[in-house]
């Protein structure tokens, strides 16, 4: 456990000692800020209209603001996650510092989990920025906080799964750019697989749709925590981490 923490700490430090973390945070703040302004402005416009038309039913902040924002955040994650994950192992391989890690008395799994946790930490920091914006909704309105919490849990699970896959892809190459491009492609495919389910009902289409990240994230955005979706993300996390450990092991046999 101490080893996991040592690796995680070192990894977090190298994120925050380089421009990566700040760049990711700044980009996220701008993009999320834009979405936030966009959704809220639309919401305000709509509520003014409904007031003028004399409708009295209350407008739902959870349904009209929080839910689309969570969906948007999930898409932003799609772009940022490859950038966070790509350097995890590629950089160590290129600078040969992997030799230090692999000849130190720790298990491969401790290295993998430590690095993955650090990447999760950086992603959670990004989500914290979005939470700052979300706080304004509570200052001026009275949305339900439970669905929001479920949404954030979903975002973390989604990021965990994609980061674990990204970590695995990063063990395969010395080149960060290659790791980044491949991870992005995998993230995007896991996203758009859902579309197949829209027009095709054959078994293979159902499997593809099931594999899609979005179909499992959507319930979280609605505030529904379904064990089926949680299991999907948790098994992807396990798969990614397991493959990373195996890949590190095979690095020893191949190198």
């Amino acid at each position: 456990m101490r080893n996991v923490w040592t690796i995680c700490q070192k990894e977090l430090k190298s994120y925050f000692a380089s421009p990566i973390a700040y760049l990711a945070m700044a980009m996220f703040a701008v993009i999320f800020g834009f979405f936030f302004w966009n959704v809220v402005a639309y919401f305000v416009e709509m509520s003014l209209q409904s007031q003028m038309m004399g409708r009295s039913f209350p407008m739902d902040v959870n349904e009209m603001v929080i839910r689309p924002l969570l969906m948007n955040t999930s898409v932003i994650g799609l772009f940022l996650i490859p950038m966070i994950a790509m350097r995890l192992f590629s950089e160590e391989k290129r600078s040969m510092t992997i030799e230090l890690l692999l000849t130190s008395p720790l298990h491969d799994a401790e290295i993998v989990i430590g690095k993955w946790l650090a990447a999760m930490g950086l992603y959670a920091t990004l989500l914290l920025i979005s939470a700052l914006d979300m706080a304004f909704l509570f200052a001026y309105g009275r949305p339900d906080w439970k669905p929001l919490l479920a949404g954030y849990l979903g975002l973390l699970l989604q990021a965990g799964a994609l980061l674990a896959l990204g970590a695995f892809i990063s063990t395969l190459t010395k080149n960060q750019i290659i790791a980044g491009i491949v991870t992005f492609s995998v993230c995007l495919l896991l996203w758009v697989f859902e579309w197949v389910g829209g027009y095709e009902t054959a078994a293979w289409a159902k499997v593809m749709a099931y594999m899609s990240v979005i179909s499992h994230f959507e319930p979280f955005a609605k505030g529904v925590i379904d064990s089926k979706d949680a299991v999907y993300f948790l098994s992807l996390i396990f798969l990614g981490l397991f493959l990373s450990v195996r890949s590190l092991e095979s690095l020893r046999w191949r190198s």
Partner: protein, 323 residues
Amino acid sequence: MIKVEGLTKRYGRTVAVRNIDFEVEKGQIVGFLGPNGAGKTTTMRILTCFMPPSEGTASVAGYDVLERPIEVKKRIGYLPEMPPLYPEMEVTEYLTFVGKLKGIPSADLARRVKEVVERCAVTDVVGKLIAKLSKGYRQRVGLAQAIIHNPEVLILDEPTAGLDPKQIHETRGLIRSLAGEHTIILSTHILSEVEQTCDHVIIISKGEVVAKDSVENLTSRLRGQATVALEIEGRSGTLEAAEIQHKLEQVGGVSKVAAHETRNGRHSFEVETQPGQDIRGDLARAVVESGWNLNELRATALSLEEVFLELTAAEKSTEGEKA
């Protein structure tokens, strides 16, 4: 302390190391000598559990590298050819990180870092980013990370490669000062380094061990076979090389005479003497008494360098030009 038996490592079809056997006793400094690509790094990487052997076994302090890698790693300090440094860290921060990795208890960590910093003479750069350090300092920080957990065995892959002469001298001194407490294996392709720092030498070529002995034995084995180079000129008229050769062969203690070139009536010879005899005086007298001019006479001991070249380059014959 270190025991290697029948070690073989293949990368696909190429064989990097073939059936190597050797043993290193506790407290020895062993030089691993061989040209580039001979399999030195591969052997070291197997010993440090970075990669497994294809065949054979290797054990450190009684622990097998395949079966008990964690125990082996705890007992080994390793400095790879390229020091494994994180440029974005400061020296103290880096050494603390490595110390934690190697399992030093938190209570001792600060003290150990301070000790190795002093030991490796990096005190004046402790607060600097590793990215800003010169090559010599990087090498020393690399050495500091290798000894931070006070390992029983130190494995150093070309510790002086790329350093300037002064830094090489300092690094060698540092390695020698570590000798008492640690068993050390260092690889190099520089012979004088082995002569200066090691007790024992293992010469490896094309993945096979071609010689292993103590440095003293190896050099004295060579010293026994001294050769003498001569240049002789007739005082007047022409002089046949065969005539001189005949004369030299008659001198007591000569085992072989080889005629080299003849230029402007000057003949060069190389005389191999029997072990343990100095016959330079006899040779000089024989030449002068025959009425020839002795232009040059010089003893050329076979250097470790030549033996190394002979051992590592199979096709190279002993009848080469010798400086």
